[in-house]
Structure formats: C-alpha cells, structure tokens
Amino acid sequence: MSFRIVVLAKQVPDTRNVGKDAMKADGTVNRSALPAIFNPEDLHALEQALSIKDKIEDAEIIILTMGPPRAAEIIREALYRGATSGYLITDRKFAGSDTLATSYAISLAVKKLQPHLVIAGRQAIDGDTAQVGPQVAEKLGIPQVTYCEEVTDVNEDELVIKRRLERGIEIVKSKTPLLITVHSSAPPCRPRHAKLLMKYKHARTVSELVEETKDYTEMMTNKPYLRIEEWSVADLDADVQYLGLSGSPTKVKKIENVVLAKKDSIDLTADDKDIDYLMKELIDSHVIG
C-alpha cells in the first residue's frame, strides 16, 4: 500500500477582517457575514503533506473535512494544490458539535481510511482551541506530535519532526501511524496549480450535484475522480449520543466584549543599558528569538 496521508481541514469564517456584523446578538459567530475560507494553519498542514509527496512519489493525500455541504469547496481547493482525493463528513446530526463530538466523528472516518500519517493544522481561527487534532490522536490511540514546523525525514515506518515551541525547537522521532499538528511558522502552502484547477473544478459531492442545473451524469461516469465522497452518521457507524449537541459537553455560558486596557509605557533611550533591556523584553515576550 502506498504511503497514505490524511489531512484534516476545516472551512472557517474569515475572522481576520471582521466587520460590525461579525457576531450575532446571542454571541455566536455570524457565519453568513464572513467569507468562508480554508483554515490558514490547515493549509500549512496540506503543504507538509504535499512536500512529503514530493519525496515519496506514490504517497496519497486524502483531505478530510467535516461541515455543511458547502465545505466541499475546501476539498476542491486542496485538489487544486495536489491532494489525491477528499471526503466530506456531513450530516445534520453533527450540527452543534464541540471539539469532543467533532473529534469522535473524525476519528471514525480516519479509522476507515487507515492512514500512515494524519496531519492537521494546529488550530482553527474560529475557535482557536487546538483540541481537535490531539483528541483525534487520543481516540485512535496513536502518538501525536504537536506544533510541527517541518517534517525533516520520512519513510513508511517513522518520521523525524522539528517542533516549534515557546522556548526553542525540539527534534522528535516517532513511529507511524502518527498524528501531527502543524504550526503557522511552517512553510505556507503552494499555490493552486492551473492544470489541477482545470482538472478538478467540476469535482462535486452528491449533495452538490442535486443542486446543479447542468447535467453532470456523463462527466461523473467518464471521470470518476470528480466525485467527492460524502460520509453521513450511518456511513461512519457513529453512535448518535456522542454527536451534535448531545455529545458536546461544552456549553457557552456568556459572551463578553473585552476591551484591552492601555498598558504602561516605558521611555527608552539609545544607550546600551536601555537597548539591553529592550532586547530582553522582546525575547521574553517572544517577539524575537
């Protein structure tokens, strides 16, 4: 079997440029007001997978995402960049899932795919929890390496990974199967490839095909690679009590607007003592170093 990599990706509202209507009155994110994008660190995760594929030619990259039917868009985005295929976990019964319920569903899907390696972004910009990757590893009972900056060596049996940590870097080695989460200091993802875009732009899930006005029957028969698989609760043999709201212990109690208070300022001169002080401050606060 070829070296199989599953990349976990999430479609998220673009919270980097938020306007007034970004939040609803009840304190939840107003998803319709924000453009849906590929979670940035998941793109770094995809790049790690693609660069492994550059080294191991027959490596296979499966992109796995969970979300509403429109999340198929990020599977196409991944195909345009070099992923081999994609699966969308989608079912109304997943609605309201917190990280625990989400990682349960994802771990079932990963189990079906039996990869050597699972790569996820460190965290998603809509929740910033950084929990789903590690929880999936726990549920699968496989090792996890978080904060990965680079996979420096890879073969079917083990990986050497450089981790970016608060106080420096750490090189670790781990056997496969393994889950890694990728940090934003890892290389950014390569661009969409013109030929792959033209090849895969018609890739569709079954739910999307239902909505299409154009007849895709012939195209889907002739080009089976255009079909994006959808997995429902039934496809995953999931136990509904661990899904959606009932499987999610996280409850939002209250949302508060936090206005950061102005901090003290310090005047520094250009003498050596002050510059020393400034450098120490910058290193301590990880602005540099």
């Binding site: 013109a194 030929k195 090849k199």
Partner: protein, 570 residues
C-alpha cells in the same frame, strides 16, 4: 488577500468580448483535446470559465507574492557570480511560485505540457505580472520564445525543448549586438557548420540581452559568410547545459532592475538551427518581435495601472489646504485622463490580441488540414490587421505608460521623488517601454505602412459600421469628422511623393489614426458597458484636440520648411 485580477473588473470585461467564442473554437480546434487531457476544455463556456479561474490564480500570486517582492528585487537586483546570473531572492521566489502554479508555457499546446491558452488570457496574465513587477515580467514573459520554437522549429527540437517550459525553464532572445540595435540586419555573431560533427557552432558577442543566462536561448546569427544584410541571418536555439557562454557583465540600469541585462560572449557554442537557414531575421525574428511588442504593450499597461492606483490612493489620502487633493480640478483632471488613457490603450491591447489569436489559430489548423478559401481570407485579413495594430499598440501604450507614471509621480509631489513610495520605481520602470523591442520612432516606421496601404482607414470604416446607442451619436460624429481629416491629410502627404516629408509627418499621421481607432474601441466598450462612458467622453475630447493640433501642423507646413528642422553637429 490582494488579487490583481479580481480587483480589476476591466480584465473580465475584455475576457468576455463577443469574439472570444470564435477565438476559443479556433484555438481549441473544435475541442479536439477534450478527451485526451484531463484538464482540456469541454466547450466554450468551460474554456472561458477556466481562463477566468486560472487568471484568478495569476492575480493572487501577483498580489500576494510578486508585488510584495518588487521593492526588495529593485534594491537587490541580480548578481553575476562565477559566470552565473543569480536572481535576487524575490525574483527566485516569484519564478518558483509561478512554476508551481503551472503558469510557464501558458500558450503552448497541451502535448508539450502547456495550457493551450489563447493570446487574450495570456496577455492578461502578462498585464497582471507587469503591474506587480515590470522587471520580473520580462523574465516570465520570455516564455514567448517557446511560442516561436513551437511555430517554427522541427519536431525534434520541439520535443526536446518545449516540455521543459512548464517545468520552469527560463528563456532569452539573443538578438542585439554592440553594432546591431535597431538595425538587426547588421548582426555579426557567426554560426559555422562543422561537417564532421554535423553540428552548428556560434561565436561572437551579444549585448543588452534580457535574462542572458537563461536555460534556453534563441540566438540570431550569421550563417552566410560574406553577406551583410538580413538575408544572411538564421535563428538558433542554444541550451544552457553546454556552458559555452561567458557572461561578461550585468548592466546597471535606470529601471527594471530585477531583470538581468547581460553582455554575452559565445565561444564555440553548440546550437541547433531553428527552421530554415536565412529565414532568421526576415521571418522568425519578425514574428518573435511582434509577440514581444504585444508583451511590451501589456507591460506598459500593467505599469500604468499600478501607477494610476498609487496616484489615486495618494490623492485621496493627502490633504492640503484643508481637503484631500483629489478635490482640486488640477488633480482630478490628471487622474481621469490617466484612467481614460489606460482604458483606451487596454482596449487596443486586447483588440490586437484578438486579431493575433485568430490568425495564429488558423496557422496551426493549417498544419493539420487545408483551410477553406473563406478561412484563408479570414486568416489573411486578421494577420494584416494584427500587423497594423501591433506597432500602434506598442507606440501608444508605452508612451502613455510614461506619461501616466510621470503624472502619478507629480501627484505625489516631493514625496514621489523620494524612494519611499513605489511610484518612484514605477517611473523608472516605465522609461524602458518606449525604447526596447523597437523604439517609438521605429514603431512609427512600421505603422506608417498601414497609413500608406489604407489598412487603418479600412479598419476605421469597419468600426464605423458598429452600432452605437443614440445617446453616443455625438461622439461617433466627432470620430467621423476626425476620420475625414485623417483621410484628407494622409492623402495629401502620400501624394507629395516625398519620402522625407512622409517620414517627417509619419508620427503625426500614425497618431491621428491611433486616436480614431482607440476612440472607436472605447465607443464599442461603452456600448457593451456604460462603465466606460466617462473614459470614452474624455478620450474622444482629447482625440479631437490632439488630432486638431496635428492636422493644423500638417496643413500649415510647406515642404521647404523641412530645412528649418535639420540640425548638424560641428
């Protein structure tokens, strides 16, 4: 996320021109590749959609990578180390990113790894890259050389060289020599044939060669010993792997600093003959030059677009005497004229590209089957118009580019003269566009033929037949009047049978034709989309005054006054 394609709806507008359907059908040869390649287009809509989506990738790379790198590339520039040109880090990143996106060899057929894009979307990509970094656009744009190989080289050469482009091979066209600039007939670099080794060898010097250390170089050389004109020149392809080139130096230039301009010495450099002997200059380089001129047209408009945007933003933000300077007539008039010039020259750019597309596509169809008589006529007609429009485009786009960059800097005031704002770089970059690939003066030499043989007039009469909404009749009437003037004056000068007089007035006549043609193109644009109404009004008003001044000059000029202008140097 900056995207230079999606933030500029003018490109989408030109991409959706009604003629695109014909262009795509011809280019795709009725979609013959449909089932052969998984990325080939299924039909017209599919093709247009793919052009659009791929241009979105180009726009994203321009906005996110190339433009942010432009300043450091301008400062650092390329270096010559151990006879090798090392690109600035930003240049290297730009090239790698575009290669990873499959955007080299865009117009090559799919069998050679290309995207088989028509000229229109390819030229759009060139405009986008130029807006991001005009110097880098040269390195990227030299993929034109692949097109020349595709058109004229043997199957063997095509198979050897063409598939390398999509994988990132760079190219150069080595034409100019110390004593052969505008006058390429004087090229001396020698090509000699070794009967024993069955191999051509090149010896000699080339100067001002953009990207001289490229992977693949097209070299113009003299194969016929003892000849002195263009008929003794042939075209060669040289592979960098032979390491038979010495790069003497990289020139220190005013602008486009990221683009390495090299002086090269060929010493017993093995090379392969492209096409037929003696056809190098008269056929192949002429064709290469035409596409390079289209490329400089796109580059000029890209720089102009960038400069206009910088000026508009600055004029909006900069306050003097209590209000933003954009509120003052002196400034807003400059800006709206800049915009009108860009809209006009862009319209001419894509009109030219459409004509080129059609005749080139017929050329490739001809390799597979005989053309029907009406197809042959159609091809010939489009070829003729393309040849007439290309020098006009190069002339106007590059001159406008300089005017716009200069006005953009002016709007910045003293700040614009400092290195702190991008407009200073744009101003320097603009300056080459009306010099290389034929100076403006040489474009006039090419374009005056289309005044002489009536090609411009015929095209203008064709444009006259296009529908115009009644509310734009007054604009059309102005153009009809200008055409009468143009016809009368060109007849007057041509009938004088004085070559020197014709050369003296050539630019004036060519420019009159240009104003009328661009006026009509803008009218057609406005007919399709009212967005262009302002630019059309502004441009045609300008056309009237510009043509009037030229007409007055010609009318009041007597042949004997030529002497007044002759200058000698003691």
């Amino acid at each position: 996320m900056d995207n230079f394609y999606t933030d500029n709806p003018n490109l989408k507008f030109h991409l959706r021109h009604p003629l695109m359907e014909k262009i795509i059908r011809l280019k795709e040869n009725e979609f013959a590749d449909k089932d052969k390649y998984d990325y080939a287009f299924q039909d017209f809509e599919d093709a247009l959609d793919s052009y659009d989506k791929v241009l979105e990738i180009v726009g994203e790379i321009c906005g996110e990578t190339i433009a942010p790198n432009a300043e450091s590339v301008d400062h650092e520039g390329p270096q010559l180390i151990n006879n090798e040109v090392i690109y600035a880090p930003g240049t290297k990143e730009n090239h790698e990113t575009l290669t990873k996106a499959g955007l080299i060899g865009m117009s090559l057929p799919r069998e050679y790894g290309g995207l088989n894009f028509a000229m229109v979307p390819y030229v759009m990509a060139a405009e986008l890259v130029s807006r991001a970094d005009a110097g880098f656009a040269n390195i990227w744009g030299l993929q034109d050389c692949a097109e020349t190989l595709h058109e004229f080289a043997s199957e063997e050469i095509k198979k050897e060289f063409l598939p390398r482009f999509n994988k990132g091979a760079t190219a150069a066209m080595d034409l100019t020599e110390p004593d052969a600039g505008s006058d390429l007939q004087a090229v001396q670099l020698k090509a000699t044939y070794d009967e024993v080794k069955n191999q051509w060898y090149l010896n000699g010097v080339k100067r001002f060669i953009t990207n001289g250390d490229a992977d693949v170089s097209l070299v113009l050389a003299r194969t016929e010993a003892g000849t002195t004109d263009g008929r003794g020149l042939s075209l060669f392809v040289y592979d960098r792997k032979h390491k038979a080139l010495t790069i003497r130096r990289i020139e220190n230039k005013l602008g486009i600093k990221g683009s390495p301009t090299c002086e090269l010495v060929f010493k017993d450099a093995p090379a392969q003959l492209v096409g037929d002997r003696k056809m190098g200059l008269i056929k192949y380089v002429m064709s290469l030059m035409n596409s390079a001129r289209l490329g400089v047209g796109a580059q000029s408009i890209g720089i102009a677009e960038a400069a206009y945007r910088e000026a508009l933003k600055y004029a909006y933000e900069r306050e003097q005497f209590g209000k933003p300077i954009i509120k003052y007539p002196a400034v807003y008039e400059m800006l709206s004229v800049m915009k009108a010039k860009i809209d006009a020259s862009r319209s001419l750019l894509y009109e030219t590209a459409r004509y080129v597309d059609i005749y080139k596509a017929y050329g490739f169809i001809q390799e597979e089957r005989k053309l029907e008589p009406e197809e042959r006529n159609d091809a010939k007609h489009h070829n003729r118009v393309a040849d007439a429009l290309t020098p006009l485009l190069k002339l106007f786009a590059s001159e406008y580019c300089n005017e716009i960059a200069s006005d953009a800097l002016q709007i910045h005031g003293g700040t614009g003269y400092m290195k702190d704002f991008p407009v200073e770089r744009l101003y320097r970059d603009a300056r080459i566009t009306n010099i290389y690939e034929g100076t403006s003066q040489l474009q006039v030499v090419a374009a005056i033929r289309a005044v002489g043989n009536g090609a411009y007039l015929k095209l203008i009469r064709e444009y006259e037949q296009h529908d115009v909404k009644p509310e734009f009749d007054y604009l059309k009437n102005s153009l009809v009047e200008l055409t009468e003037d143009f016809e009368k004056l060109s007849k007057q000068i041509l009938e004088a049978k004085n070559t020197e007089l014709l050369d003296f007035h050539a630019r004036r006549l060519v420019e009159m034709a240009g104003y009328i043609i661009m006026g009509y193109l803008l009218l057609q644009d406005t007919h399709r989309n009212e967005q262009y109404r302002k630019s059309t009004e502004i441009f045609i008003r300008k056309a009237k005054t510009e043509c009037a001044s030229r007409a007055e000059f010609i009318r009041s000029f007597e042949e004997k006054s030529l002497g007044t202008y002759k200058i000698t140097w003691e």
